[in-house]
């Protein structure tokens, strides 16, 4: 059995905690506390990490880590992404400037983004269709990056599993 470390990051409210909770086989570990930032419509926010686990069909195990979203916790980003097999960036398309949000994480993970398999998940894109997936793709081009960009509803386990499947496929193609 091989164990892989997978990191979920992205904007506050994009659903990192929800995504891990949706698929974890064990009770997820969460470090949510009361949110005092009036800029976000959330009662609680992650300040340390989220953790869950899932076993793949072949018996390998994924250890799922979620980061805090706010950039003031970027020291946790560095801690959590160390030795990660893959990175999933979740963007909330209902926020004022989702492309700037993506910028923040591409810069925040600039040391890993070119060497670690990565997938971008766009949430709430049905109710907020702009920016489009093409717009996000153009943003990645500014960084000379070509990464899978998928619309997702992280409340749905199937959508989260799809993100992981795409990430694993990307990792396999990188190895070839």
């Amino acid at each position: 059995m091989i164990e892989y470390k997978l990191v979920f990051t992205g904007t506050t409210g994009a659903g990192k905690t929800t995504a891990i909770s949706a698929i974890s086989e064990t009770a997820p570990i969460s470090t949510d506390v009361a949110n005092s930032d009036t800029g976000f419509q959330k009662s609680h926010t992650t300040v340390g990490l989220d953790f869950g686990q899932i076993t793949l069909a072949n018996g390998d195990r994924l250890r799922l880590f979620g980061t805090p979203g706010q950039s003031r916790f970027d020291f946790m980003w560095k801690i959590l992404v160390k030795d990660a097999f893959g990175l999933i960036i979740l963007i909330d398309n209902s926020r004022p400037d989702p492309l700037a949000d993506l910028d923040l994480y591409l810069k925040g993970f600039s040391e890993e983004i070119y060497t670690t398999p990565c997938v971008i998940g766009i949430g709430r894109s049905e109710s907020h269709p702009t920016p489009s997936l093409d717009d996000f793709s153009d943003k990645l081009c500014e960084y000379q990056l070509t990464l899978p960009i998928l619309p997702v509803d992280v409340r749905l386990a199937d959508d989260v599993i799809m993100l992981i499947d795409v990430l694993m496929a990307q990792a396999e193609s990188d190895l070839k």
């Binding site: 470090t31 340390g48 706010q70 020291f75």
Partner: protein, 127 residues
Amino acid sequence: MTIPDYVKNAAQQECDNFLAEQTGALAAVISSADGFDVASAVTRSLDPARIAAMASSIAAIGSVVSQETQLGISKSVTVNTEDGVVYIAYIELQGVTYILNIIANSSAILAQIIYNCSEIRKRLKVL
């Protein structure tokens, strides 16, 4: 979760006093549970905003560890380093949980820091 000015001023006074009176103290920062500094006194180039965010994460991880190990409610986390100590303790302001973060060099005595933080917690809790 707005703190009345008199409570904020008292918290600031406690940070100032701690830095002035505690041997080896380098920083005293009181932050919200989600990592915003509300009162601070620091020396050197320490950034209260950065300290507040880190204290929030460490305290939250400490709480999760205590839950997972069924050791009751987490009260504090101590980081012993080669050249000093970081002591992070939960406090209350107006019934809401906040975090007191102390950074001190090796000339400080941990037991004294813990005692002084306990006194600060008692004084701020009754405001």
